[in-house]
Amino acid sequence: MTADTTNATATPTASPTAGRAKPSAAEIRRRRIRRQLAQGWKAFSANTPGLIGLIVLLVVIAIAILAPVLVPSSTLDVTKVTAKAFEAPSSHALLGTDYTGRSLLGMLVWGARASLTVGFTATIMSTVIGTLIGMAAGHFHGVTQAVLMRVIDFFLVVPSLVLAITLSSIVGASLLTIIISIGVTSWAGTARLVRSETLTIEARPYIERAWALGASDWHIIVKHVLPAVMPIVLSNTTLAVGSSIIAESTMAFLGLGDPMVISWGSILKSAMDTGAATAGYWWYVIPPGIAIVIVVLAFTLVGRALEAVVNPTLRER
């Protein structure tokens, strides 16, 4: 009913081969992928917040990788520290020191490693599990679907932090525990999303056409569902990394992390435990949180930009 504003072209306008040449199948595929990536990039780069987020992320990742170079681990050895505890920011400790006298700036740099590692690993784990189960729950019907739905619902309903706490308390405090806790509890959200997408895609006529052409379950899932689902999974994953980082910091804060590993959450834990917050040591309390906010915000912006690329109707949002 809204007035029609598009005009399907009568002749294809984007055909790069005007001549008589007959490109091969592989060539056609390569060209298509290149075009789609270029289009995707064009749409992404038009989204300024997304670009900013991407740059920030690249910087932070670089810092994390270069941590041993930027801040030699010897400077963070508790036994070798020379400064006093709880020093305010000065020329030799730009962000002050913690309760043992270690430079907070150095700890922040190293903390990036733990936070990013956990964030990425946990999310990859939850994404892979979630996508596989989500596709299966969407594609297969009958008993398989019923069972999978029950399982997904269960993991959705259990309050994740509580489950993570439970798991950590049972299995012990370490980085791996945190990764597994987050991965195991967050896959359900992805699965639900993927399942919903799979149902939508499989309702489309071209899936029926594929059946009519003689396709098998495998062909449908791999050649049609998966490529269609990937963009959404990608944007969802990016957003999920942000939540994983927050989750990691929360769990470290609550004492479920490895006490030997420096992460932004553990810095804040010691801030609370040593009374730095109530004592008014702002350099202890504020920078780690800001670091978390910046990184998570960057992931969120990139994730939203990806969503807009994937779903053009969102571009006007």
């Binding site: 706490i165 149902l199 906010v293």
Partner: protein
């Protein structure tokens, strides 16, 4: 960001609709048959909820039993005990029975409302939980109400004035708050209002060493409530804003809105009478589901502010670890969320005429 970690999968803007079109179609097929449909619907949903609850209960038991380590040692941690004493303790807590017997005891006890005895406090877990449910509900209830009011109102306004300054600014602020860890925000507030400005108390529910009553008590509690509520609200209002905004944006494409305008309706009325009510439908379900997450998130806030609720109890139980308490809070928290979701599905069916027939 709300403390529910998995919510990240479904929640980030725009949200996956509460139910996909296919699920709704299936729901519709279920729902056909009028009154009989209602009964069938409730039974199906209740059955699902019950199933989840059972799984939670079972998981609650076995998770704590497959752990490496000896519960008896946790009970007596820090004290010197002889092996004979350890044995006596195991017997006292029934830890020397076969697993199946323990499980049966666990189930039957639970049906009687007995969730075991705390290793640390040596009190019935049920009583501990009972004492602390109130404060948790006070905290999360206030935060939920506040977040909803602020989030929904801002969200619908932002959607209707898409891409104006109002929209951009508020969506931006919401995104930032979404990226803030709740516990850090709490620490920040303590730092600012308590540590530096000395305006508000830094923890607890009531000022220690006092015994107020009546209005004075209320004021005291409210003073203690302010910072924790602000912490929780700041992070969750953002979620509701984004959800409402997306819902309304989708609704705004509806043809029936053009029809309403053609009839001569004022823009404001088109929004208020047509767009927003329709946009609220999927929003309400999402809200119920995230409310469950809010409850789970109470753990961090209560810990930071030493608020005497279920969350703080869970945290304190971590250090021992006090398994009966952890088990109990796990079951209770999960149970609350399951019930919330069940209510969500009932409410949705009541308000959406398309599901009735």
């Amino acid at each position: 960001m709300s403390e529910t970690i998995p919510a990240s999968g479904a929640v980030p803007a725009p949200p996956a609709d509460a139910m996909s079109a296919d699920e709704r179609a299936a729901e519709e097929r279920d729902a056909r048959g009028g009154a009989a449909g209602w009964g069938k619907y409730i039974l199906t949903k209740a059955g699902g909820a019950l199933c989840s609850l059972v799984m939670v209960i079972v998981l609650g038991f076995f998770a704590f039993r497959i752990l490496p380590g000896d519960p008896a040692k946790s009970i007596t941690s820090g004290r010197q005990v002889t092996p004979a004493q350890l044995e006596a303790i195991r017997h006292q807590y029934g830890l020397d029975q076969p697993l199946i017997v323990q499980f049966w005891k666990y189930l039957t006890d639970m049906l009687h409302g007995d969730l075991g005895t705390s290793y640390v406090y040596h009190e019935p877990v049920t009583r501990l939980i009972g004492e602390r449910v109130g404060p948790t509900i006070l905290l999360t209830g206030s935060a939920a109400l506040l977040s909803l009011l602020i989030g929904l109102w801002l969200g619908q306004r932002a959607a209707w004035r898409r891409n104006t300054t109002f929209d951009r600014v508020h969506t931006g602020i919401a995104l930032i708050f979404w990226s803030v860890p709740t516990f850090w925000f709490g620490l920040l507030l303590i730092f600012l209002f308590s540590g530096t400005l000395h305006l508000l108390p830094s923890g607890g529910m009531m000022t220690a060493g006092t015994s107020y009553a009546g209005l004075a008590l209320v004021v005291d509690v409210v003073r203690h409530l302010v910072l924790p509520v602000i912490s929780m609200t700041a992070v969750s209002y953002a979620q509701y804003l984004v959800i409402m905004r997306s819902s309304l944006l989708e609704e705004m494409n509806g043809d029936y809105l053009t029809v309403a305008r053609a009839k001569g309706l004022k823009e404001d009325d088109v929004r208020r009478r047509h767009a927003v009510p329709n946009a609220l439908l999927p929003t309400i379900t999402m809200i119920f589901m995230t409310l469950g997450g809010l409850i789970g998130g109470a753990v961090t806030v209560e810990t930071v502010f030493s608020w005497p609720g279920l969350g703080y109890l869970t945290y304190q139980a971590l250090s021992a670890p006090d398994f009966p308490v952890l088990q109990g809070t796990f079951v209770v928290f999960s149970g609350i969320v399951i019930i919330m979701n069940f209510l969500a599905e009932i409410v949705y069916r009541i308000i959406d005429p398309r599901l009735r027939k």
